[in-house]
């Protein structure tokens, strides 16, 4: 069990920045995020797109903003628990007990939800029986590539994941790459390699096709694919791999008894607390009259929520407002050397 002052859900810009605000007032935070990397939407959706409205940064990208925010929290040596989703919470005396998808348990008086639009999860096949075969014949990520050796594998998608796995698995499996249009959006070089492998008959490419149905009872025997013009083909296959990118889902947060309004969580703008004491929501996921979904709003919300966390984490101490320009105590916490 990990004891902490604040558990932060979401490692996007707002989740990272509240760690700094908490660190300055002497509180320790642990951060959990379902993605495999830090940065949230900034990294997953628009790492290269320019952002022009971060105060004091005339222009940055999702990636550079994330990097700078991480630099800013370096003094606070924070643990990030990636590839983990918070599943359950329960009240235990003055603390919240929080359990993640990998069964890690946290005990903390404060939970700060900075989860944006929700956790990122793979987009899935929507045809009948796709759910039944999930993790048996259908996968959206690969943990052990050896299971595909000498098998027939159909890979769907047009991005880097689909191309890279098609190329990789073509060495040991009978691979068919299926995509809805003739152009691939993945790296040009990978697309060329895949096309070359097709010429050498080491890989089949089927475009512009989409899945129509899956055949098989206990295991997958094959699939039917179709074009928009109605051309239909059947493919024998043992496995289906889908690489359609990620989608955001609120997931278990909906089960925690929080007020929810149109996929957002209403908060009191005094301290960004939700309807539950000790649970705060900041950034895109919170709502209140006049809410703007800007990163800069999330920074402000985090600063106020951090002070509210102090009251619950240090009930016997008085919070004192100080400036980083002059406070010796803050300089110590920041590791500033004079």
């Amino acid at each position: 069990m990990i004891k902490t002052d604040v558990l932060v859900i979401g490692a996007g810009p707002v989740g990272i920045f509240i760690v700094q605000q908490l660190g300055l007032i002497g509180l320790k935070a642990e951060v959990v995020d379902n993605l495999d990397k830090i940065g949230g939407q900034c990294i997953e959706l628009y790492p290269d797109k320019p952002i022009y409205d971060i105060p004091g940064l005339p222009e940055c990208t999702g990636e550079s903003l994330t990097k700078n925010l991480l630099e800013q929290i370096k003094p606070f040596k924070t643990n990030f628990h990636l590839n983990e989703r918070v599943e359950e919470i329960s009240k235990e005396k003055d603390n919240w007990k929080i359990q993640t998808s990998s069964k890690k348990i946290f005990l903390s008086p404060n939970i700060v939800i900075a989860a944006g639009v929700g956790s990122f999860e793979p987009r899935k096949f929507t045809v009948k029986d796709a759910e039944k075969f999930e993790n048996k014949g259908i996968f959206y990520s690969i943990k052990d590539k050896n299971i595909f050796k000498d098998k027939k594998v159909c890979i769907f998608g047009g991005g880097d994941s689909a191309l890279d796995w098609a190329i990789e698995l073509s060495k040991v499996s009978e691979v068919t790459l299926v995509h809805r249009r003739n152009e691939f959006r993945g790296a040009e070089h990978s697309a060329q390699v895949a096309k070359q492998l097709e010429k050498e008959s080491k890989l089949k490419i089927k475009t512009p096709f989409q899945i129509q149905s899956i055949e098989g009872n206990n295991s997958i025997n094959g699939i039917t694919i179709k074009t928009e013009e109605g051309k239909v083909e059947k493919i024998e296959t043992d496995y289906l791999l889908g690489f359609f990118g990620l989608i955001m889902k609120l997931g278990p947060i909906l089960e925690w008894g929080l007020n929810i309004d149109n996929k957002t969580i209403p908060v009191d703008t005094k301290n960004f607390q939700t309807n539950k004491e000790g649970i705060f929501a900041i950034g895109d996921i919170c709502t209140y009259p006049g809410k703007l979904k800007l990163i800069l709003s999330g920074f402000h919300e985090g600063a106020l929520a951090a002070r509210a966390c102090f009251k619950l984490a240090r009930p016997n101490e008085n919070y004192r407002f100080e400036f980083t320009t002059t406070s010796k105590k803050l300089h110590e916490r920041l590791g500033v050397k004079k």
Binding site: L45, G118, T126, G159, H179, R185, F244, G245
Partner: protein, 106 residues
């Protein structure tokens, strides 16, 4: 103001006036029309504002750009009528536009 008709997958139809300069996605969100999620807020980064444009209108819209076509790869059951509604800006010429929402977003 131009009138836009949004047809839910169930067939339920909503015709509303959408101010020029707004996107078709924003028109739906601001009027609480179900079926368009727009998780990324209009950055052409999530494909959850996917719509099927009525056949009569599909060629009257500004041409689809690569970034939008790339994102449509991620949409649920895209076809040749598919667009991301955050990439369609409402103009006087689009008065009467009809879009249909897919069975689900993403």
């Amino acid at each position: 103001m131009p009138k836009i008709t949004y047809v839910e997958n169930s067939g339920k139809s909503h015709t509303i006036e959408v101010a020029k300069e707004l996107t078709v996605m924003e028109g739906a969100i601001q009027n609480n029309i179900p079926g368009i999620d727009a998780d990324c807020g209009g950055a052409c980064a999530c494909a959850t504002c996917h719509v099927y444009v009525d056949a009569l209108w599909v060629n009257k819209l500004p041409k689809i750009e690569d970034a939008e076509e790339d994102m449509l790869d991620m949409a649920n059951e895209p076809n040749k009528f598919s667009r991301l509604s955050c990439q369609i800006t409402v103009t006087e010429d689009l008065n009467g536009l009809v879009v249909k929402m897919p069975s689900k977003q993403g």
